[in-house]
Symmetry: C2
Subunit: 104 residues, 2 copies
DNA sequence: AAGGAATATTCTTGTAAGGGAATATTTAAA
DNA sequence: TTTAAATATTCCCTTACAAGAATATTCCTT
């Protein structure tokens, strides 16, 4: 799977999306996330695993706690990908007429 | 579901992702997409349905063909969402030390 | 050393969703 | 007005995956 697909897949799950939204405020422990989102701890750990595998978050172990924080790279790469569409909105389209004429 | 989640969900499926990548070159019919990606027509139609429902593509019916083309808005909105993370990479993080000190 | 917190992992189950095959629908062409 | 082409839809099956519950692991505290 391409990098973007991995990132998209991780972000597309509602609870993971919420976790990411929550982490934008600052790093949090598993328990804090679970409390905030009213999720059970195991599910949070599992979602964090996916986010971690996809590179979207990073762990910092402190004693028996684990502090998760967002990682910029996947976000920046996804934005770069989206950026490659910019030319398209300006140039190529809105010339549908000509394309249709050729098809006829 | 929020707009971004809808967009992410639609893009996160590999075949739909490929369809989007293909459509960036220009508008295409269902058959052309099926041929290019070596997918069966019904599956392509089904994926296009999801992409259409999420606003990522638009249909233009011509005779018994249907020409699909990308729609800029969801892409732009997703990029805007990603853009709201920019401040985060610069400011808040990389001060994890202080946060940890407070937790102790 | 023992007990308790915080987190991760495993197993099971239920469900959403994609693929395959068949069929319906629409439109052009003969 | 039949026939064929392009596309959409439906039904069935299978698989991926998220939730729940229980358990394992790690580290602190006493």
């Amino acid at each position: 799977m391409g990098e973007q697909l991995t990132t998209l897949h991780a972000l597309a799950e509602p609870n993971r999306f919420h976790i990411v939204e929550l982490l934008r405020v600052g790093p949090l422990t598993v328990g804090e996330i679970a409390d905030s989102l009213k999720l059970r701890q195991p599910q949070v750990s599992k979602h964090l695993r996916v986010l971690s595998d996809s590179g979207l978050v990073e762990v910092q172990p402190i004693a028996n706690r684990r502090i998760y924080k967002l990682q910029s790279q996947p976000f920046l790469e996804l934005e770069e990908w989206l950026d490659t569409f910019r030319n398209i909105w300006e140039d190529r389209f809105d010339r549908l007429d000509e394309y249709l004429k050729d098809m006829k």
